[in-house]
């Protein structure tokens, strides 16, 4: 019964094989946990750029700043041609990034750490702080009349997630409280969200910080019979569907694919041609809001892991 194969790719959204022959070796060192939805899209982006341009990509990541610094050191040791780094904790990476720059390796920072990028000697920064995306969510929710928000943190103490929640609160103008759930046990996360809504019926908005949590939050809101509106960071196929169905008000998309793809492309162009897009100014990849109007278009792409 091959009708079971509801997820089989029928058309390829990856955009051809590419024919680049740059042959550079580029290391990408991020702070995203292995298996994190957002960072897996970034990884897809850098790898696609690698195939398109004919570069060799070495992607590694660790949420612990010291380990991330050691991974950068390892890349520098290997004398890579370019380095892409996300800086959730810039201070911790300072020494390692500067060492790379000193070794003559061009560095581009992505996602977080925009403010310190220049100082450490990076060519440019792609993407924006979580703050910008968070503020966009807060503003939009305020526009929708939401006043009492619970922000669902799925990894306690994660710098990026905390920044997102704080930024939502900054522009919301209402009350915001955090709620902790376990991303690795979504079923119990759903119970926890439900418990929060049952316990505090004044809540009229829920913000989740990743696609998978958004889906269980939607189910939790429904089961608790709460009127709360749901917004989320980051996309995945189910989120796109949820937005289409009206279960999710909107999703904010930082276009992680682009952060990865562009970083590799710009490094390649720099090595080949000493080009720097924006002349060293920060290059923004978002935030783009995915709402009911445009959700249908990105659903397919999200399922393919590029949005």
């Amino acid at each position: 019964s091959s009708e079971n194969a509801v997820n089989r790719d029928d058309d390829d959204t990856s955009g051809g094989k590419g024919g680049g022959t740059y042959g550079l070796k580029i290391a990408v060192v991020t702070h995203g946990a292995a298996g994190d939805a957002f960072w897996s899209i970034v990884k897809n982006g850098v790898e696609k750029a690698g195939t398109d341009l004919g570069d060799t990509i070495q992607y590694s990541s660790d949420g612990d700043p010291q380990k991330q610094a050691q991974l950068i050191d390892a890349a520098v040791n290997q004398k890579v041609d370019g380095l892409v780094v996300s800086m959730a904790n810039p201070d911790a990476l300072k020494a390692s990034v500067e060492k790379a720059v000193a070794a003559g390796i061009p560095v581009i920072t992505i996602n977080s750490g925009a403010a310190r990028s220049k100082e450490f000697g990076a060519l440019t920064h792609i993407g924006q702080d979580e703050k910008v995306a968070g503020e966009a969510v807060g503003t939009e929710l305020a526009n929708q009349g939401v006043k009492n928000v619970v922000c669902v943190i799925h990894e306690a103490g994660n710098v990026g997630l905390e920044e997102r929640c704080a930024a939502v609160g900054a522009t919301l103008g209402g009350k915001i409280q955090n709620l902790q759930v376990d991303i690795n046990n979504l079923q119990s996360s759903q119970s926890t969200i439900k418990a929060k809504l049952q316990a505090d019926t004044a809540i009229d908005g829920v913000v989740t910080l990743g696609g998978p949590v958004a889906n269980v939050a939607a189910a939790g809101i429904a089961e608790a019979g709460s009127p709360a509106k749901l917004a989320t960071f980051d996309l995945n196929a189910e989120v796109a569907k949820g937005v289409q169905d009206g279960k999710i008000l909107f999703a904010v998309d930082q276009q992680p694919y682009l952060q990865g793809y562009m970083a590799v492309t710009m490094l390649t162009q720099y090595k080949a041609n000493l080009n720097v897009l924006g002349g060293g100014q920060q290059v923004l990849t978002g935030p783009a809001l995915v709402t009911k109007e445009n959700a249908a278009q990105v659903a397919e792409l999200a399922a393919a892991g590029t949005r």
Partner: protein
């Protein structure tokens, strides 16, 4: 020699009398049960939603899947072993079923059987390596834990290009699966998950096996004194492997429940849960060194954990301090449990 045949049982002058209450208090599960009652009372006072039917249904839900795993893990722990790969195996089960159906179009039941076979095979390998190498199960299952974690992510990425498998609700036969694994039973107006029923059944089965079968006797023996067990002819290797496979079966069951409930599964699902299973078993009175414990106790441990983690939310405490409260509650529960047992032991003189 006047062979002093026993005046059977009753009325030995060397045996002091003991009240039935004290006797009850001495059972390990009962200490845990009192801990559970305390935790319940505590949160019930703080929040009336917590003690409402829908509140109870809500916190019984996470307790139920945790409880099913805790019972299997308790059996394994009584048998003297750990399974650090138990958590990720729930993910492996769900991911395998999901990919086989939604990507490779296999028949739903065939796919479920294949993922069950895979889990049992993993359990077998865990057990086989443990008995053959005589290395601690902690280190062996740590190896399989890491490998499965990598496999779950690597395979999911490879097949789906994302880190999750979706649309499980669109396969044929999903309705039946939903009835078995994820239907709801309405009691007092609140929807109770069917997993709660499975949990109760698992506890009864686990208890029965432990206390009423020869396999149960072997479990206690293997965990209590491996050399002695081997010397009296207990099939040590078979028992150990069977225990690991039981844990894997439970992981398959819970993993399937998850993908049916959520209709999708994350590559990292289940990661880190293995410790919570062990915690539930230990709160319920299982010895970490093996040879002692009970299935009922492990279930109550799961209940305490479920109530505490949801109760903190009902009580409306600051999320930043969530782990602090969780830790404090756990510590208080086990300390209370211990104190009650000591007290009972004192008073039985």
């Amino acid at each position: 020699m006047t062979s002093a045949v026993a005046t059977t049982g009753a009325g030995d002058e060397r045996v002091a009398r003991v009240g039935p209450l004290t006797r009850l208090l001495l059972k390990p599960e009962l200490g845990a049960l009192i801990g559970a009652v305390l935790v319940f009372a505590f949160f019930a006072v703080l929040s009336d939603v917590f003690r409402s039917a829908s509140g109870v249904a809500n916190w019984l839900d996470p307790a139920s899947t945790l409880g099913i795993m805790a019972v299997a893990v308790a059996l394994l722990m009584i048998g003297g072993h750990f399974d650090l790969s138990a958590g990720v195996q729930t993910g492996t089960a769900a991911i395998t079923s999901g990919i086989l159906t939604t990507y490779y179009g296999l028949n739903t039941w065939v796919a479920l059987l294949l993922s069950l076979a895979l889990c049992l095979a993993i359990g077998f390998v865990n057990g086989y390596l443990v008995v053959r190498t005589r290395l601690p199960s902690f280190i062996i299952t740590l190896g399989t834990f890491l490998m499965l974690q990598g496999l779950n992510l690597g395979v999911t990425k490879l097949v789906t290009n994302t880190v999750q498998v979706n649309n499980f609700d669109q396969i044929q036969g999903y309705g039946v699966l939903k009835t078995i694994f994820a239907s709801e039973i309405t009691i007092a107006g609140a929807p109770f998950q069917i997993a709660i029923v499975w949990w109760v059944l698992a506890t009864i089965l686990g208890s029965w096996v432990l206390l009423r079968t020869r396999f149960g006797n072997w479990i206690f023996a293997v965990g209590g004194d491996l050399t002695a067990a081997r010397n009296v002819g207990v099939p040590v290797q078979r028992t150990t492997i069977a225990l690991f496979m039981t844990t894997s079966f439970a992981a398959w069951f819970v993993g399937t429940t998850q993908i049916v409930r959520l209709t999708s599964i994350q590559a990292q699902a289940g990661f880190g849960q293995e410790l919570i299973y062990i915690v539930a078993a230990v709160i319920g009175g299982c010895l970490l060194t093996g040879g002692f414990g009970s299935a009922v106790g492990a279930s109550i441990g799961a209940l305490i954990f479920g109530m505490t983690s949801q109760g903190i939310v009902y009580a409306g405490w600051d999320a930043d301090w969530f782990k602090f409260f969780l830790g404090a509650m756990l510590l208080l529960a086990v300390l209370a449990n211990q104190y009650i047992r000591r007290f009972a032991e004192q008073s039985r003189r």
